[in-house]
Every structure is written in C-alpha cells, then in structure tokens.
Amino acid sequence: MSDGLDTFLAAAPWPQRAGLRLLVALVRRPRGAALLARAPLVEQAAWSTLTLGRYDDPAVGRALGWDAAAVVERGRALRRAEGRP
C-alpha cells in the first residue's frame, strides 16, 4: 500500500478504515474479487480505494502525463516570486 493511501485510510474513522482495508485486501485476490463482484457498489468502493493508491505512484502518473512534483514545484516558485502566502 502506498504512503499516500496509508495517510488517507489512517484519517478515516475506524469503521470506514477497517472496512476499506478489508475491501482492498479482498479485491487484490482473485477469489476476493469474485466475491465482491456480487455486490457492485461495494466492488466499486474497493476499486476506488485500490486505484486511488495505484495511480498515485509518481511513475504511473508521469506515464499518463501528470507530474505532481512539477506542479508543486511550479506552485512554490510562483508563490515565492509573487510573495503569496
């Protein structure tokens, strides 16, 4: 699990945190994924959480044209140059 996803899950109230961790563990396994497919909205929640972490990987993002570090760097440079808060 990525650091970002850990931060996301750690901030959730314990019932959601425990539930989402369980869903992510299930959806990663073929038998778990097959089980989740019987409940579409639950399966969607599992996929949303799993892929939130997966596509947060900087290398994955860059392959899709998104470079978070560059966006942040540009933002910081602009803030400093213009004296923004």
Binding site: S2, W47, L64, W66, G75, R84
Partner: protein
C-alpha cells in the same frame, strides 16, 4: 484551565466564521476565533490526492450519509474550512431563491439588501470569470457539446488570483491562487487584532440567564479552555453546528435543529474522446451548463489527476484498467441536483450521523440529468461515455442504489426563519430564544440554492457582522493588499 476574554467568540474559521471575524475585528471589536482543525502550510501541499484527502478533509474525506443511496460528503478541516478544498466557484444567491425565502421563511433578504454584501465579498476574494485559456481542454469538451446542442452555458466565476491552472483546487492549491478564507479573511482578522486558536474543539456554549457568556473548549494537547464573551458566533458548518447547539441546549424548541438538511447531491460522468484532454491541466471547474436549472439540475466541470480520476471513474476490473490507460483522452463533467429531499443530522456517541434518503423527485432529476449528460458528451464527439451507474443499470430506470453520489453543499440544519416556531435562527441569524448566540455558516441557509453556496454564506456572514457592529454594510474596498482588479491581478 486556560481563560481568555473577547467581545466576540467565533467558532470555526471557514466560509462564515472567517468573514465574520475579519469584519468584526476591522470594525474595532476584540475577536477570538476557535478552529478545531490546523493551519495548513501550503508548502506541505503535494498535489497527490490520497495524501491530501487524508490531511485536508474531515475524517480523511470519508464522511458519508446513511440512507438510500449512501452519499460521500467531503468537508474541509482547518483554517479556511471547506473553502480550502472546494473548486472556488462563485455564484450569488439566485433571485428566485431569495423571493422564496421571503415568502416561505419571512426573510427580508432581497437582491438590493444583499448587493453590498456580495460586492464586498467578491472584492475581497478577487472573484472573476475563468478565461478560456485557463479553462483547459476538459472544459472545452463540455463547452463544445453545449454549443452544438444549443444549451445555455458559460465560464464560471471563481475566487482566484494569479491562477495557472494547476488542476488540484480540491487537493490544496500549490500556488495559493485560490483565495480561500484562510489566506484572505483570516489574515485580515489577525492584522486587525483578532486572535486565532487552532486545535480547539468547542464543547459547549455557556449560557447564563438566557444570554451567552462564552464557550468551553478542549485543546489539542488536552488542556481545557474557557472563553468569556458576551457574543458567540457559531460557524462550525452545516453538519457540526446543530450538534454544538444540541450539546448546549440551544435552538431546539422549533424541532428543526439538525433537520431540513439539503445537500445538492451530485455525480459525474466520464467520456473517452479522440483528442488528448489531459483533464488535470487547467481549472477543473471552469464551465457550467444551466440549460436545465429550472428542471432542478445543473452541470459543472470536474476533473483531476490520474489518482483522482481512478477513484471516481465508475468502472471496475479490466474495464477500469483499459479506461485509465487512456486517461489522457478522458473527459469528465459533473451533474448537481437542487434537491427537494431533506435529511437530518444528529449525534451518536459524540459523532455526527447524517440521515438522508433521495426522494422520488430528485431521483427523476438524476435520471434526466444522466441522459442529458450522455447526450452532451456524444454531441462533443465522445467515443464512449461512462455513466455513474451500477453495472446493468440504465439512466431512465435507475434506482437510488444504482447511483454513485457525492455531495458538496450541505445546508439548512439551523435554518433561518423569522418565526421561532419554524426556524433555529431568525432573519438576523440569531438563535431564537437565546441572546448573544448567532450562526454564520451553511446551516442557516433555509433551502437548496441550486448553485454553489460559498458566496451566499459569506454574504450572509458579512451582513451578520455589520449587524452586530450596528453599522450599514459598506461595499467600499476592504483594506489595501486584499484587492485585485477584474483580471485577477493585484491592483
């Protein structure tokens, strides 16, 4: 126990609290602001969705309603409140809504009354229309579709200054371009002498002899804080304000405290285009389509980085993987319903439980809206459209449990009504039946607005502050340094 004194104690530093605090402090009052969350440092913003959701949102963005269907309710936490993490869209209260408030709730809030409040807020927040260059290709897809269908649409007005279209408004603006209240009104408040205490969880409003005497709070390090103040302004947001009033035994006589909850339930659809869209380049929410506003729904932009898109994309398994492989050609747009459904907030073991069920009329709006959304994308040239529905569900027959919904605009749980038997607060936003307690957040807004509410909340807060000072609202410029010209640059 620590003790502080002030003329006004403001609970919450979001859209309402920050505005009240700044206006009161600049008016010469001694103001103390208690904010439950932290002061976020923009240097710590990473533009990475999961981490920012965990840090900037209440409950890590996992606040949800209980009901059919469950609805995710993202709320900001910290100085700036939800203005820190919203899309920055600014609408004045629609005139027909103000007319309804006058007729139904006895509120004397016509356009002329509120105009100076709106002018003052818009000036403080540098509100200006998004330019086509900044809007980006995702907005262009929707705009093109609306043009071809002849639907009414336009570029949105936003509170931004020097925006470069970083595409992460809802994950913490790395350029501090979005003029949230944490970098506009709160600095004005502190410059005028207001004191801001973060990490302060207000437990109760102290009332003696039918009038406010202050509040008691618990600080992040466990110490207790008592504030003595003859005037308390509650601005904890629509979900938590009624809970504080309940803990304090206030505002309950009418039976409306915590009730009357409107949410503007929303969803979004994706489309696979022929051209590169790169949805995160540009202002995510920059175009609106209001062709169907009179039918109770409206379209607004939505977009974000791959991790965000992957989270929201209404697909699973191999279809999700294939669609995300084409992320650069994905477009997204949002659908927001002006709801007639009403929910209720109450506390269970100290936590908010939000009950909300979608009524049949609102379900019909979603069905119609999703059909129109598909029409919009196809008119824009989409190859495929991904609607936010359970597998096998069709828009025209979708059930509540088939919908994947979020909501961004909770309103109404301490609604204003001139009659003490019908509202928690009166037309001046004072809590009925108690002296010295006022409310300044979305909870006082008595009905769904049909548009993003931040400007309405701020205008009402402005009116409240000037009322407490006993002065007429001036639309004159706020202090130097807080202003911009119409093009969003400092003047």
């Amino acid at each position: 126990m620590d003790r502080l004194e002030a003329d006004f104690c403001v609970v919450g530093a979001g859209a309402g609290g920050a505005v009240v605090a700044a206006e009161l402090a600049e008016g010469g009052a001694r103001v103390l602001v208690l904010e439950q969350g932290p002061q976020h440092d923009p240097d710590s913003f990473t533009a990475r969705p999961p981490e920012m959701l965990g840090r900037l949102y209440r409950d890590g963005c996992q606040t949800a309603t209980v009901g059919s269907p469950p609805i995710l309710l993202p709320l900001g936490r910290g100085v700036g409140g939800t203005t820190l993490v919203n899309s920055g869209t600014c609408f004045r209260t629609p005139p027909h809504v103000l007319e309804r408030w006058a007729e139904e709730f006895g509120l004397e809030l016509d356009e002329a009354t509120l105009a100076p409040c709106f002018e003052r807020v818009e000036q403080a927040l540098s509100v200006a229309e998004v330019t086509p260059e900044l809007a980006g290709a995702n907005a262009e897809v929707a705009r093109r579709g609306a043009e071809r269908l002849g639907w009414s649409h336009g570029y949105l007005r936003r509170n931004a200054r020097g925006c470069v279209g970083s595409g992460v408004c809802v994950f913490g603006c790395p350029t501090s371009a979005k003029q949230h209240t944490g970098i506009t009104y709160i600095p004005r408040a502190t410059a005028a002498g207001a004191q801001i205490v973060t990490g302060a969880d207000v437990q109760q409003i102290i009332v003696e002899g039918g009038r406010a005497r202050g509040v008691s709070a618990r600080l992040a390090d466990g110490r207790r804080l008592e504030v003595r103040a003859p005037e308390v302004v509650v601005a904890c947001g629509t979900i938590h304000t009624p809970l504080l009033l309940e803990r304090s035994g206030l505002g309950g006589a009418c039976g409306q405290r915590g009730g009357n909850l409107a949410l503007h339930p929303a969803t979004s659809a994706f489309a696979l285009m022929d051209e590169d869209v790169d949805m995160a380049r540009g202002v995510p929410q920059s175009v609106y389509i209001d062709e169907f506003a009179s039918d109770g729904f409206m379209f607004e932009g939505a977009a974000g980085p791959p991790a965000y898109a992957a989270m929201v994309l209404p697909l699973t398994g191999e279809r999700h993987t294939r669609a995300m492989a084409d992320y650069r050609r994905l477009a997204q747009f949002g659908l927001m319903v002006s709801d007639e459904s009403r929910g209720r907030v109450h506390a269970v073991a100290g936590r908010a439980v939000i009950r909300y069920d979608l009524c049949d009329r609102d379900l019909a709006k979603f069905r119609a809206g999703l059909l129109r959304m598909r029409e919009l994308f196809l008119a824009a040239g989409a190859r495929e459209v991904y609607l936010p529905l359970a597998p096998g569900a069709r828009p025209e027959s979708a059930r509540p449990r088939d919908l994947k919904l979020m909501a961004f605009h909770p309103l109404g749980t301490a609604r204003a009504d001139a009659r003490a038997t019908h509202g928690v607060t009166d037309g001046d936003l004072a809590v009925h039946g108690t002296l010295g307690v006022h409310v300044a957040d979305g909870s006082v807004v008595p009905s769904a607005l049909g548009v993003n509410p931040q400007l309405t909340i701020m205008a009402l807060a402005t009116r409240l502050a000037f009322g407490l000072l006993g002065r007429a609202v001036s639309s004159a410029p706020a202090p130097a340094g807080a202003h911009t010209s119409a093009n969003g640059r400092a003047s």
